[in-house]
Symmetry: C2
Subunit: 357 residues, 2 copies
Amino acid sequence: MPTKDQTLVTLREAHLGPMRFMNILSVFELGIVDLMRKQPNQRFTAEQLGAAVGATPDAIYQLLLLPVKDGLIALDERTGEYTLDGLAQLGDEDFARVLPWMNMIKVVCLRQLYYLTDSIRAGEVVGLQKLFGLTGTFYEATLGNDELRSAWGSMMDAVTEFIDPWFFDNVEVGAGQKVLDLAGNTGLGAILTYRHKGVENLQVTCFDFPEKEAEALANFEAAGLAGHCSFIGGDVFKGVPKGFDLVLIKHFLDMFDRDNVLKILRAVAGALEPGGQVYILVPIYPEDIRESSSVDFFPSYFLGCTMAQGGPQKVSTYSAWLEEAGFEVTRAVTQDHATMPADMVPVHGIICGTRKA
Amino acid sequence: MPTKDQTLVTLREAHLGPMRFMNILSVFELGIVDLMRKQPNQRFTAEQLGAAVGATPDAIYQLLLLPVKDGLIALDERTGEYTLDGLAQLGDEDFARVLPWMNMIKVVCLRQLYYLTDSIRAGEVVGLQKLFGLTGTFYEATLGNDELRSAWGSMMDAVTEFIDPWFFDNVEVGAGQKVLDLAGNTGLGAILTYRHKGVENLQVTCFDFPEKEAEALANFEAAGLAGHCSFIGGDVFKGVPKGFDLVLIKHFLDMFDRDNVLKILRAVAGALEPGGQVYILVPIYPEDIRESSSVDFFPSYFLGCTMAQGGPQKVSTYSAWLEEAGFEVTRAVTQDHATMPADMVPVHGIICGTRKA
């Protein structure tokens, strides 16, 4: 058992979290990091930085205390001049990955988190209603809110760009197979499936709400794949279309609680013939959660900011649920942490099941 | 220089901060900790906890992942039952200190931090206006906002209860001296001065805005100290009353940038005779900021949530400013970290100066 002092330090670190987050992000937002990256050999006083970014030197001094302590920015105490420290080690591709995450947390989460407890009690995302007058889940509600949608979309693009190639490397598709991309939105997953798996006579169908059909068909046309990709409109909780050999469920099951996940998996099992296959791609928790940074992020993200339910599970849990729904789990792959950038929080898993006879 | 991976981990930890904070706080807000503290020998499943606090077992499972990882709550993986872990080590007095801090950060800071960069650029607390329609500094604005004032007041009570006895232990007041409590609000500091320093013929005067006079006088009356405590109305930036031997400046200078601190100190020096004394009580940063938790908290608190200026300084900085304003620094005392609860962020300093001839 941790000591009293260790426990008090844990609580202190928790309460410092929001303060640290916006302090660090504000150093980027003000343009201080950009300025220093553009002139890497220049040394800047608080006066010079303040004049350049529209802040007082006093505010610059205060705001850079934490980045200096954290080794992001260096301060020469003798001259009062700042230069990049650890941040000098990062490249454009790192900032292009880290900053959309920080901005997403600021825009989507920071204010909504205030209502986390209310959202858990109500079973709906109270912050969406209180702050933005929106109802439904985050994904439904933000179709009409540019700020939220673009902050979330930029983060998600950074994730899928990294994850999808790895997913398709691990999916086996045979010649002539019929593939269903469940909850496939406006068809991007279907297009990627075809492109990554150039097998003969491959047919990929995107299944999602009927209102997505027009955009999906336009996307297939634009990709030159109208002959290989098609769309079926429907609602996964009301029925899954039959006649497919392989069902892909990407970035979807983690949005739901156990009962809903089982409903979806059972509907998929019911639509497949024995021997038919399902691949699920989900963020997962490691079996030993003490090794995880995901448990720091996802519970308050799903419960307070997006769905008021859901969250990743361990591979062992998803596997058990697949078995319970009528599948035999044939393969489970987890992203190798060593191949991921050190800042990345979600660790994904792919679990493959075969419909039992 | 930190490595690239260390730098990316620093940024990851920063962005996880708000998520962790509300996850942990919500476990308290839902009543989970109270429930477990009341029945310390009971083991609870997610179903039982959910039923007791009005949440789904799925939400309880997700929400308790982080407290389990952090050693606050224990989970028996075999039975799925939760008990207190490190939190069992804390007593009522710990929760009475920690929870007002967490609540203050939620209520005062979490939403306002969204506007930190705007506040720094504007030189005013943009969040007060955007979120609450309030103008001025936090301390002025929240006189009319119960939620903000009470969240802040509960935290401040926990701080002053801890700090003020230590401050008065370190102040030397002679018989018959006249003491001015600068920016003394509604007289509590004057009352405490008299009570802690029962020297003969002590006269303590509270100096603050005239609109505080009636409440201050009522407080003196209620404390039975109307004969020893008095009030002078005014504005420290327009002039400091003369005729005092000793001026106390408590919890005040940290609210201002350098130029304003110097204005205040020069006004105090101008009002004192040579040999007159000033004692300042302020949160301070250690000379080596890498040892500090205060730099994690105060910059975004002052710049984004309360004043849009100010913040603690090092003792060496305050000492230099006192010298610059016409004082000789005769003594500087810093709170001993070893005597403070491990969760406490502000470290206070007392700096004593004598008006130079």
